[in-house]
Symmetry: C2
């Protein structure tokens, strides 16, 4: 059994606590939470400590706290030469300092407290300073997910940018779609099948091959009609023009 | 039995031909195709004509041709005062001329020839000049889909713009995500669960409530790191800045 401790009590920490308690090959020996009661429904009280200096012996310490708090927490650990990892997509490995052996255990998914997640499908992006530690981290990751990737700090930074485009920005375009529908008394749900099909298609076609619509068809008449429709909203107009041009430039 | 004829042999026509042959309440009495052989695997030869002036009697004629061809086809029909509809999202009802009673039967989905579509889930946007015709059109739509909406020409125009934002532009952001991944030797599939979750979330939360990421958190440190990463690509930089600003402005 690989012994792990989880430091943190936020969204990611809570999901990890839940899933690691169900595995056969990994044993959760302790959880650190500033306020013990936060975790009262998730984990037996005996497993929780609010004393960072009294952490039990473990093979791996997972620091699942906000980006800004990682280096503080790492500096407060009163042991050396253990394997510690953080769970952040946008922080380098170096924020963990030099007191311990370092790595990253980054689950690439949006977690909300109220929604259960099937961890088997969550991509886990792993990185370690040395290969022996990587093997251990990989065994821990394989215990909860079928999607384990070796991703360097540099790659992880680019992945985080790609995720902003493919998810946060995508969601913002959904918001604009929703607003246009509501302004015209159309239920937004009318777009759900099309949104779903758009997300599905790219699993079998490249996004470039999957593109449709007036921009890629260079259907100038329709584009002009759309711009006329948007004319009172400079922000939507700018987004429409910029993305239309970008589609046309990148698909010549 | 409601008798319908379909005029056209492209993507949308082929999907309609396939699905209407399976219904109990609607009878497909004829299909017009300029080249009869296009439909040889889809429909019995006796049902196909390439003579527009010899169309059989039907309760409804569905003109499923490209936007530019609709008015030509409508003008060539050698009958009057029948119910004719087109299937276009971006054309008004008036392109059908005044020779016949008019309507629109717009399936809001992307169709590709090679991929089967479960028509039950395809939103059908209907419009008619008069109520009796609307009832008939609605009965035809209900025979193939569970998602039937009454949508005016004006609403349909706004819906088309909303679909460009929520689908074509979304797909373009997927393309940028794909490119960033490939440039950094990361398999794009690593983003699929996040893309799927982003598309799923808005079925239960508004896109506004579902937003996450550095823009909405006003995490300026991360935004600056991302812009530094993108600095050699002015186009991606502009998209990143514009969408980040738009997220922040619209979620104050």
């Amino acid at each position: 059994m690989i012994k792990i401790a989880i430091i943190g009590s936020g969204n990611v920490a809570q999901h990890l606590i839940t899933v690691f308690q169900k595995t056969a090959t990994v044993k959760l020996v302790q959880v650190f939470a500033r306020k013990k009661e936060t975790l009262s429904t998730l984990v037996p009280e005996a497993l929780v400590t609010s004393d960072l200096s009294g952490l039990k012996e473990a093979d791996l310490y997972i620091i699942a706290v906000s980006d800004d708090a990682i280096s503080d927490i790492a500096a407060q650990l009163n042991f050396t030469n253990k394997l510690i990892v953080h769970t952040s997509g946008s922080s380098g490995m170096e924020v963990l300092g030099n007191q311990n052996r370092k790595g990253v255990f980054y689950p690439l998914q949006t977690f909300s407290k109220t929604k259960a997640v099937d961890f088997k499908t969550v991509p886990l992006c792993l990185e370690c300073e040395n290969e022996a530690d990587y093997q251990l981290l990989e065994a821990v990751a394989n215990a909860i997910s079928d999607k384990v990737y070796r991703i360097s700090s540099e790659q992880r930074q680019s992945l985080h940018v790609a995720a902003v485009f493919s998810c946060n920005f995508v969601n913002h375009l959904y918001q604009i779609g929703d607003e246009i529908c509501r302004e015209n008394n159309i239920p937004f749900e009318i777009l759900f099948p099309l949104i779903q099909e758009t997300a599905d298609k790219i699993k079998t076609l490249s996004p470039q091959a999957a593109q449709t619509g007036p921009a890629i068809r260079r259907d100038q008449k329709t584009i002009e009609r759309h711009l006329a429709f948007l004319k009172d909203n400079p922000e939507r107009t700018e987004i429409y023009q910029l993305l239309t041009e970008s589609i046309q430039k990148n698909n010549d």
